[in-house]
């Protein structure tokens, strides 16, 4: 499904901003996620507890290049992550704008091309732009991760029609809604639209009870995917009575 890796859970969970390492650990378990995102930062902070959580949770690790603003920074970070985490997976983020944290599509494609050629399996954080998506596929990406909304904003699927178009256009490419989801209902909506997975962090980490929220998102993702597989009824403009008219009494 994702670079020949089959996952039974369609929820990927970020590991930042939890109230404590213990809550993070329980939230990962409660979510059912099989992929967690991680980052690289300067040595000095206490990373020991976090390393233990990574090792114990049994999840596949997806390192990110969060905070990088140029292709060069992102490429260097990816190489450091590959060595440190022992994986060729990389969540490629090249940020273009400080307020929206919107990806810089030009630097993103440039970095993706270099990394794919170097044997990385790239998960690019992108917009819903179809041409950028095409360029990323040409660069060697086999997954695309369009944003739902700006990172950490909790706005949900801000450009639903464009995301629907993207889903239809990249029929055979795994698509992951990454960033901007604030509520389980939004995650379920993404899954109902046929997206392959969702990736989120803040909505769980900043919930009053992150462990319960992790479970809620896990169930929403499962329900949404089940609904997609079951086939949603078509939307209609007018009412269509569901109870049969045949056999109705004449009481007027």
């Amino acid at each position: 499904m994702f670079y020949q890796t089959h996952l039974t859970s369609r929820l990927m969970l970020g590991t930042a901003q939890y109230p404590s390492p213990a809550v993070l650990q329980d939230a990962i378990a409660a979510s059912g996620a099989q992929v967690i995102t991680v980052s690289l930062r300067r040595e000095g902070a206490d990373g020991g507890a976090f390393r233990d959580i990574i090792a114990q949770c049994g999840c596949r690790v997806l390192p990110n290049t969060a905070g990088c603003h140029t292709a060069r920074e992102a490429i260097t970070t990816a190489h450091m992550a590959r060595e440190l985490f022992g994986t060729t997976w990389i969540k490629l983020e090249v940020i273009g704008h400080a307020d929206t944290l919107q990806p810089d599509p030009f630097a993103l494609v440039e970095a993706a091309r270099a990394l794919c050629a170097d044997g990385f399996e790239v998960f690019p954080y992108t917009t819903e732009d179809l041409i950028v998506g095409e360029k990323l596929i040409e660069a060697g990406c086999k997954v695309l991760m369009p944003w739902g909304a700006p990172i950490g904003s909790g706005q949900g699927l801000r450009n639903r029609d464009a995301l629907r178009t993207m889903r239809a256009h990249f029929r055979d490419v795994p698509l992951v809604i990454d960033a901007g989801l604030g509520a389980p209902s939004q995650a379920a909506a993404a899954m109902e639209m046929g997206f392959d997975a969702v990736l989120l962090n803040t909505a769980v980490a900043k919930a009053r009870d992150p462990i319960a929220m992790a479970a809620a998102f896990g169930q929403a993702v499962t329900a949404g995917r089940m609904a997609f597989d079951a086939g949603l009824m078509p939307r209609r403009d007018m009412a269509v009575a569901s109870t049969p008219i045949f056999g109705m009494a004449e009481l007027a």
Binding site: G14, T15, A16, Q17, Y18, L24, T37, V38, S39, L40, R41, R42, E43, G44, A45, G47, F50, R51, I54, P63, N64, A66, R72, E73, T76, H79, M80, A81, E83, L84, F85, I151, G152, A179, N201, T202
Partner: protein
Amino acid sequence: MRIDLNGKPLTTRATTLTQLLAELDLDAASVATALEGVFVPRSRRDQTRLTAGAKVEVLTPMEGG
């Protein structure tokens, strides 16, 4: 010799990346290194010489979204 380690000045006697990590008492397997913004793989830390003013980054796993 003074170098720049993770954005802070540091006086060190180390002349290679391997020596620097040892001097800092860091587990060589749990960090990743870069010199002047270029990744230095574990296997090349021995041969990677430090000069005065060198900009070194030593990174470790951290939480991320």
